[in-house]
Symmetry: C2
Subunit: 373 residues, 2 copies
């Protein structure tokens, strides 16, 4: 079996035109032309041959060396997260996903191992991330065109470099792309304990924007509140605390928010809308409760709310893709300075199945799992 | 009892700053200073002293003459509609409404009866409408500042001049204000038999925009379909016809719409969203089913829909208020040419209670009621 490195996207939403991603796995095999070319080391990869339950369809396999073509870079992976969207891709329920057989994973970080003959501006040992992310990061060696790779500062903690795109960039873009916020303004969000939620609190704080945060009622919610306040949250409420006639009466010195974020749906989304000011905007980027968003007619007509959605994938195919690189650099700078933090657990690659079980929720609430190669 | 002509708005949403509307009824009484000033004729008005069921709280009363001040115009009303929002104001359930005691009505048309000494640009006999509309049109003589009145062409059918603001202007602004549409594009709407719905069909047609229309399942729906097609509707479906896996498979040569209008809520709103293309916009301007709009998380994230609301009242307090006058002239031009039509029933003022009962739905489905003075 050849190294799984470039896989076709099923264009379920729209055709994806990145040439490197359009190389089909099977076509790829036939392009291995000569044993005299530069070759990657053999790789160990988490592969699935059909979509389904991730804990039964994924296997760790050894894949042989492949050619590193003149414009390609072979990267020795250092770390890669297991994100919910990675799981949804393997389950076959995510709109944009690779054709099987496929290697799991979408973001990650590695160091340059070897370079194709025409590659410029990279050296062995450079810390690089696929930017925008690219399928197949759950393996020890990844070979992709140099345009896929973005160099990051060597002092960057690998777990932040590995996870900067999917969560922190979502937080940053959502704060930038919908409403012009100024210091002293506020935002409201539910699912505030999620990594995106924690990033929103910290990124807002840096800009002088106050955050109103809604979390679930559950054992440990007092502890969760304290954690979020330490990150810079101005107000944290559980959903049950908001069972009052006028939620805005709970805001002491915080102005009504003009922007809200919803990653839960159901009642938690309704609460975000209740906090919003006249003509405010709510951005939905997740649906953790699996409940829809329900909106009264008067919220549209008399309160003039705008409801929008955010999906990083749409950004990647837009002109903003390039702009993301400087945002990534900004976010990783904050991570290096300790100004952007979130809890993660690093698990050795050999224990992948344990990390997967934790990510699937089979072992209760667990921190974000980062595979360390 | 003095002539009820200028009434304060309760600022339930925000303060309204039009000076003429801020004159309080009772203050008004004290400004009648001299019997030598120009006076209006006595007026017959539909008045309510408290909010409640319109058929029990409204009474037709005679109100004495008042002074016509130097900047005011006395208008002899010719026609005024009973709109659902007029009813909601009397019921006390509309966010912006006059303080009681109040004269009912909000839009209408009349002819200039007499002018204050400083009024320029108007002559007795001119056809005028309050533009933007102004409380208290259900009476035979209305006295307001000249800035309230907008002159319209004398050939205009009074029933169209009386109704042009609330419904046709809503249709026109909704087609203009949310998405840039080009000839060949399409829109989708529910509640298509409403007057706004009929206006949307005709105004879209004039611009070469195709319309997909959704109506309720009920006796006479085949006849309703035919009527809408005669107005220029490209496709008309009942809700039950859209119980198919992919509603878009029903569109023959019409492109997927980028813009949808919802005045119903519930399933009818979901159907509008199903027709919309990726990144489409749905504008809610009514909730006839009294059911909320329910939206899946994936409609926001993966389909990237935007959900907005439209309320004419917001427009009036924005900079677009002035721009509305040229739109009104455009719409009345179409009405004069027979290119904008909708069914109305003219009822003599003396039979106001019958017109009100019809508007309240007490006599089954009835055309829009226009009071003819």
């Amino acid at each position: 079996m050849a190294l799984l490195k470039s896989l076709t996207l099923k264009p379920l939403v729209k055709p994806y035109t990145s040439p490197i991603l359009m190389n089909h796995f099977f076509n790829r095999k036939s392009t291995v032309r000569s044993f005299s070319a530069a070759m990657s080391p053999p790789s160990t990869a988490v592969v699935y041959h059909q979509e389904g339950p991730p804990d039964s369809v994924t296997k760790m396999v050894e894949v042989p060396a492949v050619e590193v073509k003149e414009n390609e870079i072979c990267v020795k992976m250092l770390a890669a997260p297991i994100n919910p969207s990675d799981i949804n891709r393997i389950q076959g329920v995510y709109p944009v996903r690779p054709q099987v057989p496929a290697v799991g994973g979408y973001e990650g970080v590695g160091e340059v191992h070897s370079l194709g003959s025409a590659v410029k501006g990279f050296s062995p040992g450079d810390l690089v991330i696929p930017c925008p992310p690219s399928f197949g990061t759950w393996q020890t060696y990844v070979v992709k065109e140099q345009s896929v790779w973005h160099k990051v500062s060597k002092g960057t903690p690998v777990e932040y470099a590995a996870t900067v795109f999917v969560n922190p960039l979502t937080a940053l873009r959502m704060l930038e792309d919908f409403v012009d916020l100024n210091p002293g303004d506020s935002i409201v969000q539910n699912g505030a304990t999620s990594i995106v939620g924690q990033c929103i609190i910290q990124l807002a704080r840096i800009r002088g924007i106050r955050s109103i945060n809604i979390i679930r009622d559950r054992a440990g919610s007092d502890e969760a509140k304290e954690k979020l306040k330490k990150l810079g949250a101005d107000e944290v409420f559980t959903e049950s605390q908001l069972e009052v006639k006028n939620v805005k009466s709970l805001l002491a010195n915080i102005p009504e928010p003009d922007l809200g974020f919803n990653c839960v749906g159901g009642n938690a989304a309704t609460l975000v809308m209740k906090f919003l000011r006249q003509r405010g905007t709510m951005v939905t980027y997740g649906g953790m409760s699996k409940k829809p968003v329900t909106v009264s007619t008067s919220a549209f007509i008399f309160k003039d709310l705008s409801l929008r959605g955010f999906w990083l994938q749409n950004l990647l195919s837009s002109a903003k893709g390039e702009e993301c690189k400087s945002m990534i650099d900004y976010l990783l700078g904050l991570a290096r300075e300790g100004k952007l933090t979130y809890e993660m657990e690093l698990t050795p690659f050999k224990d992948f199945q344990t990390a997967l079980d934790k990510s699937l929720g089979k072992l209760g609430s667990q921190p974000k799992q980062i595979i360390k190669f």
